[in-house]
């Protein structure tokens, strides 16, 4: 059964906060949920399904459902890192299409900055996976596990640091118009290359921001979408795919987006060239370059050339991306950027993005999430959304 056209995104909310000192994680989840309800014009008691990932403290979705006082017919706490919330859009659409629920809430929230200041940390997940003993002693970090992808990409395809830097430059051009963005200063390719090297070949400005806060999405059945006084945004197609090291047959030149993207485009019945705006997960500049290739926006190996010279800047290039400033400049709440990818895609397709970055006639958009480590095991999720004119 296809989900095409069977579920709508009716509410979105991005927490304006970037430093969560003084707030708890359950509180932040509830605050973003309330924001999305207000955006949709729905009541808390309308919610009958709840989707969250490992950033929610407790046993799956249940402790947070209790905090928010939800009475539910469906829960799903599938954890695929920062891609989880894009994947949840697909799962919620499946549940709505099957008639198992009518109003699904998705939340993300966290406060890594405040936690670091207070020296307090509870990370999701327990127990050591089988790979842990074979990898942890070699000191993998988030940065060096993406840096090795960039290094291999440069080796195979001739991608340059200048080309990677263009991703950050484009994000900064968008962030200047977002009053909530953590970094609003426009930067140049030279600025990126002059920033300190963190892990070869990634500089500080190749890396996303670290922020607190979160976001929420409300998905509804078609009859509810039609009853609300909001632009109607329907899910046209979606895909998800984990990728891992495959028993040692390691290939870092592609991501799970080759599979999740293909499924999403097939279900939606559209092509990359039809997409007017794309939210592309931007934990690092290399994440964007490799993902754009894997989704089919350009040929494999041509991602560096594709992003160069402002091609991702709204009003300038061919594929406007991350017009909120993305994870690179605006927000990467709880070290997970998936939900803000969907939120900005919905703003664009509604025509509610900042006027300086709004894409004209933006009726078809894509949001893509990448979770975990591009250099080892990762989650990948893609959704394609369409505006349905009333």
């Amino acid at each position: 059964m296809s989900i095409k056209g069977k579920a709508y995104i009716a509410g979105i909310y991005e927490h304006p906060l970037r430093d969560g000192t003084g707030k708890t994680v359950p509180q932040l989840h509830a605050e973003v949920a309330r924001g999305a309800l207000e955006d949709a014009g729905l009541d808390k008691n309308d919610i009958d399904a709840y989707y969250c990932a490992g950033d929610v403290p407790g046993m799956g979705a249940i402790n947070q459902a209790e905090y928010m006082g939800l009475k539910l017919r469906q829960v799903d706490s599938t954890e695929t890192g920062g891609s989880s919330y894009v994947l949840h859009v697909r799962h919620a659409a499946q549940a709505i299409a099957a008639g198992h629920c009518k109003v699904a809430l998705i939340t993300l929230a966290g406060r890594p900055r405040a936690d670091a200041k207070e020296n307090y940390s509870v990370r999701p997940g327990g127990g050591a996976p089988a790979d842990y003993g074979f990898e942890a002693p070699f000191r993998p970090t988030i940065v060096n596990m993406y840096a090795m992808v960039a290094m291999r990409h440069m080796h195979e395809f001739g991608t340059t640091s200048e080309q990677l830097a263009w991703v950050k430059v484009a994000a900064s051009h968008h962030a200047q118009h977002n009053p909530h963005a953590l970094l609003r200063e426009v930067v140049t390719v030279e600025d990126v290359l002059a920033s300190p090297m963190i892990s070869d070949p990634l500089h500080r400005l190749d890396c996303c921001v670290m922020t607190d806060g979160g976001g929420a999405i409300l998905m509804v059945a078609p009859e509810i979408a039609k009853s609300l006084n909001r632009p109607r945004v329907r899910v046209l197609g979606a895909g998800e795919a984990p990728k891992h090291l495959n028993g040692g047959k390691v290939d870092l030149t592609y991501s799970g987006a080759v599979w999740s993207g293909a499924d999403a485009f097939a279900e939606a019945g559209v092509k990359p060239a039809d997409i007017k705006y794309a939210s592309i997960y931007d934990s690092f500049t290399i994440t964007v370059v490799e993902t754009l290739e894997d989704l089919g926006f350009c040929a494999k190996g041509k991602g560096g050339a594709f992003v160069a010279d402002g091609n991702l800047i709204s009003g300038v290039g061919k594929l406007p991306f991350n017009t909120d400033g993305g994870g690179l400049c605006n927000n990467h709440p709880s070290d997970r950027g998936g939900i803000t990818k969907v939120i900005e895609a919905v703003r664009q397709v509604r025509g509610e993005a900042h006027p300086r970055v709004q894409v004209p006639n933006c009726n078809l958009v894509l949001a893509h999430g990448t979770g975990g480590l591009l250099g080892s095991r990762m989650g990948s999720a893609t959704v394609i959304l369409e505006r349905e004119d009333a």
């Binding site: 050591a128 089988a130 790979d131 842990y132 003993g133 074979f134 990898e135 942890a136 002693p137 070699f138 000191r139 993998p140 970090t141 940065v143 060096n144 596990m145 840096a147 090795m148 992808v149 960039a150 290094m151 291999r152 080796h155 300190p196 090297m197 963190i198 892990s199 070869d200 070949p201 990634l202 090291l245 495959n246 028993g247 040692g248 047959k249 390691v250 870092l252 250099g375 080892s376």
Partner: protein, 133 residues
């Protein structure tokens, strides 16, 4: 009274060992790098598992490697004391996560030939790192 004889911090962290991985770490302590070979489908794999990740057979056996390979990718972390993480593709096929040691971090290259070098963790297990061959 304060302890003035500070112990040097071990540079290499000891691995977390379980029943499935113990033969691997016993071998590295003897100076042997072992992966798993599946006698059902003939594929080698890493990290070593009891069940073959390609055909799901439990007919897997330990295979001692030559210790030679080449750099698939790497990155030198530059914050604090630099170190080089890498993927090395073994002569026997699989690619493994490791560190590059005893080398000039500014003269590493993808494709470079490397050989295994076991680094003591100080806790009875040796880490299979690699150095230019």
């Amino acid at each position: 009274m304060s302890d003035t004889t500070a112990k040097p911090r071990p540079k290499f962290r000891a691995p977390r060992i379980n029943d499935e991985s113990r033969p691997f770490w016993e071998a590295t302590t003897r100076g042997e790098l072992r992966i798993k070979r599946c006698t059902a489908c003939g594929e080698n794999h890493y990290y070593p598992r009891s069940l073959c990740p390609f055909c799901f057979s439990d007919a897997t056996e330990w295979l001692t490697c030559s210790g030679r390979g080449s750099i698939y990718s790497y990155s030198v972390s530059r914050r604090g004391e630099p170190y080089a993480i890498a993927y090395v593709t073994l002569e026997e096929g699989p690619t493994m996560l490791t560190n590059l040691v005893d080398c000039d971090f500014d003269r590493l290259a993808i494709g470079q030939a490397v050989k295994v070098k076991f680094m003591d963790t100080g806790e009875g297990a040796a880490l299979p790192c690699f150095t230019p061959a």
